[in-house]
Amino acid sequence: MLGIGRVGRTASTLAVGLLLAVAACGGESGAGGGPVRVSVWAWYPEFKGVVDAFNASHTDVQVDWTNVGTGPDQYAKLKTAFTAGTGAPDVAMVEFQEIPTFVILDALVDMGEFGAGDDRDLYAEWAWSQATDGDKVYAIPVDGGPMALMYRRDLFERHQIPVPTTWAGYAEAAARIKAVDPTAFVASFGSDGGWINGLMWQAGCRPYGYSAATARDQVKINLTSRECRKVFEFHGDLVDRGLMAKDPFFTADATAALDSGKYWTWAAAGWTPGYVAGSLKNTAGKWAVAPMPQWTEGADDQGDWGGSTFAVTKQARNKKAATTVARELFGSSEAAWDVGLNKAFLYPLVKEVAADPAFTGKAYEFFAGQKVNEIFVPVSGKLGEFQYTPFQDFVFSELNDRSAEAMSGSRPWRTVLEETQKNVVAYARQQGFTVTE
């Protein structure tokens, strides 16, 4: 019995100690003097420089940064934390397509209540519309991925293949590439939800419609429109004819193929110049960027692949300070954008930064001195509105799984969207949504 008593006393001492420690932690972020500390989750390594810049320029608010994993890994942790009701950071990096998902989980703070609506004119219109819902500001845009076509200028010139300006021309180029080099492909069908989404966006396909502010339980899903179908039928045809490879993007195989002349083009995004300059060494200087091939000759339709924002979570202890962090981590901060543009190679959604001659006039050695941002910047201006569903992970997963079936030959390409539509509508209804198709 003596033993138990001693153990019990030690335990209660420990418990008191823990309580004190917890209280001390809480006090740090309270009003008890000192700066408010705001926790942030973001996943690129260069983010440290952005945090340092913020902390150096603010005395009342200080950022504590954690990298808990990239994209889906971080979202898994966020979703767990929101379900558990505890454990989420004050501010989290969230990609555009995830915003409605977190909104319906009631996980994000409307920063409009803290004046974030004033930032409206700072950002590209398409990005602001994806980050907001009516007057509600759920996220502050940071970077995007306006799309353009990367191609091997040297190979196209050597074999006198015209750089395609239309998708029909792209298919012709694909056939000629195969004729010149049977081991080469025009590109790869990368099994990437964001990439195919960008191509759909460019084709004028608007498959989703959702506004929690208007009707929380209503969602539009129309993946089978002509504009959406033509994207899958076109690329599926190239894959079936052996003109397009099947390697998933960002694998060692795909990177090696880009760097060895196996792929001649890549429908890439505004953040690609930084990515390729870091990973493709053999073919540096041989690439160039051209505007995206168009579905209609002479048109100027554009798409976006990727992009991220900062959102304040409902679990934030000091929502006002957290909003300040989300708005000012990048915002108009020159020091932050210096890191963002020159180290993390982000495509800036702050209009002023994107329009700055220092950005548009930047010559890229990787592209033999081409000022590629002169192509990307106008694209961002033409993107227009594109919405997502509040269950976009399910939709992308369906699209990828059905496309994979088509690639392996067990499903005709023309049924990919039909089947996805059917499954997504069934899922949405089962989740309690009223679906309009």
Binding site: A76, A252, F394, E405
Partner: protein, 320 residues
Amino acid sequence: MTSAPPTAAPDADRSPPRRRVDRGPRRSSRRTTAHPVAGMLFVLPFFLVVVAFLVVPLGFALYLSLFTKSLVLGSRFSGLDGYVKAFTDPLLLDGFLRVLLFGAVQIPVMLGIALAGALALDAVTTRFAVLYRLIAFMPYAVPAVVGALMWGFLYSRTFGPFTGLTTALGLGEVDFFGGPLLLLSLGNVVTWAWTGYNTIVLYSALQGVPREVYEAAVVDGASPVQVALRVKVPAIGRAISLAAVFTVIGTLQFFTEPQVMARFAPTISAGYTPNLYAYNQAFAYSNFNYSATISFTLGFVVFVVAYVFVFVSRRRGAGS
């Protein structure tokens, strides 16, 4: 046969003698109740750990599985509806079929190699035996994620050594991540990782068999192969079926390799294995309730399959 201790508990006297011998000598029940507090204190740490990390989470998952959560309507009690849905969910059933097909091929191959390896190790008496054991065991020491990534690169069409081999054989580049080869590729990774472990388990069992039995067989004129197949293998029958049960359970819970390899192999869908499906339901689609239901369904299937397996192998053991 006469080892029943004089202090045997009264109920032991009533049980049939065969059972008593099977279970070995029993301790006095009076002795174990002599210091209840001390006994409980000894059990307490383990008990607390079991309650905190097994009973409570399982109970909570069971509780979750009885509710249905939808994005719009929130959470509501639905009793066993979730289970009805799980057992009729084509994606989940597909996943079960896939892991069963996978196991039907992979388990016999792996245990066959492990058994052969164990018999070989048992026969080797040189000082290299330790080295062989170490090498056999090494893949098991590599974390599963690292192993799967490593094999992802080995299978690569660009860097992998197998591409060189198939190209030299005139087969061209082979896609190890697609079509019918994908399950074989995954099976190979699992076999690579676990064969050594099972070899060591079976080898240890062989070490426990008295050497006199082998000597007797040799004296009776048995060849080394006959000794291995007719004496050694039956002698470690229990160890083999134990290894098989653990492997069956592990196969039904197949997760890490497909999860890691999905980045190379687009064909690995969200519901490729039941465990992967449960993971995606929870952490991609925020559907923790259905994920819990799938997990319990999986647990139930694992229990049934393992039980049937043990039952059948016992019957077979008794029959031979």
